[in-house]
Amino acid sequence: MAETSSAQQMLDQEMIARIGRRDQSAFSALYDRLSGPLYSLAMKMLGDPAEAQDALQDVFLQIWSRAGTYDPEQSSVFSWTVLLTRSRVIDRMRARGRRSRVVVASTEDAPTAADASTVESAADTAEKNEEAVRVRYVLNNLPSEQREAIELAFFEHLSHHEIAARLGQPLGTVKARIRRGLLKLRERLNNL
């Protein structure tokens, strides 16, 4: 599936196994591979570079200390690290008693003036990231109400109750949108 093609998954697992044996060069290689997408996720959720960097530091220190507990039966390395990142970011959001400042209007958000230079320099890398482009394409082609519900849940960590209130829709409708959207996403990513 996309970012985690079988070959890449094997190499990721090998890196995690080496990190579990305290191999700093494997850790450095994994950082180079994943820090971009994970930092981008933290930035999208927190909207603050200093906070996003602190969260990313926590995540990679967790990877270093918990590599031995990684279970390939449960998830790919990529999904595992996304899960760790979301957890750390959500903890920070809760600790500060606020929600993300980022309004998830579209997956093609324009960069703000403050971070334009960073985004611009990263744009080349983004273009090279064929998989990210494909996933974005798949997500953008979901029915808009399903995509919106998934993005509110994923990036803003709104509960299904909060999403229902925000969108003015019944709870059952919101649950169904999230379910249908994720099932479709799974199916389409599997077919990439």
């Binding site: 599936m1 996003a52 979301r86 990263a122 996933v135 994923f154 960590h157």
Partner: protein
């Protein structure tokens, strides 16, 4: 059969949207339902990919330095340094000086040996062999291991496995070459272990693999599959 309600719960669980009580209740349901477990895993993978839709931004280089420093400090903490000093504090310096002289001699000798090695490499096929050590990855037993001797020129190799119990009926172990030029791992055939969990097999990947980065063994359907499906049990680079 998974009900629509279970699918709803699975999707919310994959996105971490359930409350603590709902989480616990759903997890006990998961323990009793393998099909539901598979669905959750797949939905979690799909949800993980949503992260890739965030506009790509790169952290500053200083962050990596900060993190690497942190783990280096932690590693040093684990290895306690000897604390005795005083009267023999000159000893490390003497050892360092002796080592420096010794290193100089070694460097001189190395140049000579490298020349000899280059000559041997062109004539001895064993020197054209790359070795891969494969380490276990859950759910393989912790003492399972394998070594691959790979000859890129001949596009063939030998794998020796030990401590890997025979798979359950209807399953086989399959060897894969992970090549930089191929998106998916290349099948290198089925590997059957004996009753002692040992195998020694000569293999040849089904496609040309000129830039092999790693070898891996996965658990697959009996007879093997064209594209890896099952969990990885052993994996290793050079």
């Amino acid at each position: 059969m998974i009900s629509e309600e279970q699918q709803d719960q699975a999707a919310l669980y994959a996105l971490r949207l359930l409350g603590a009580d709902e989480d616990a209740a759903f997890e006990s349901e998961l323990r009793a339902n393998a099909e539901l477990c598979d669905l959750v895993r797949e939905l979690r993978e799909a949800a993980g990919h949503v992260a890739l839709t965030a506009p790509l931004q790169l952290p500053p280089a200083s962050l990596k330095q900060r993190i690497m420093r942190e783990i280096a400090v932690e590693t040093e903490r684990i290895v306690p340094m000897p604390t005795q000093r005083a009267a023999f504090s000159w000893v490390p310096w003497a050892i360092a000086a002796a080592l420096a002289v010794f290193c100089g001699l070694l460097a001189f000798d190395r140049v000579r040996l490298e020349r000899q090695l280059a000559d041997i490499r062109t004539t001895d096929p064993l020197m054209q062999t790359t070795f891969f050590a494969l380490a276990p990855s859950a759910p393989a037993p912790a003492d399972a291991k394998a070594t691959v001797a790979w000859q890129p020129g001949r596009q063939s190799g030998v794998i020796r496995i030990s401590n890997l119990p025979a798979p359950q009926p209807g399953k086989d172990y399959q060897l894969w070459a992970v090549d930089a030029e191929h998106k998916d791992p290349i099948s290198a055939g089925i590997v059957r272990v004996d009753k002692n969990g040992v195998a020694q097999v000569r293999f040849k990947p089904v496609e040309k693999a000129e830039h092999v980065k790693a070898f891996a063994i996965s658990l697959e359907r009996e007879g093997g599959v064209p594209k890896k499906e099952g969990p990885i049990l052993l994996v290793g680079t050079t």
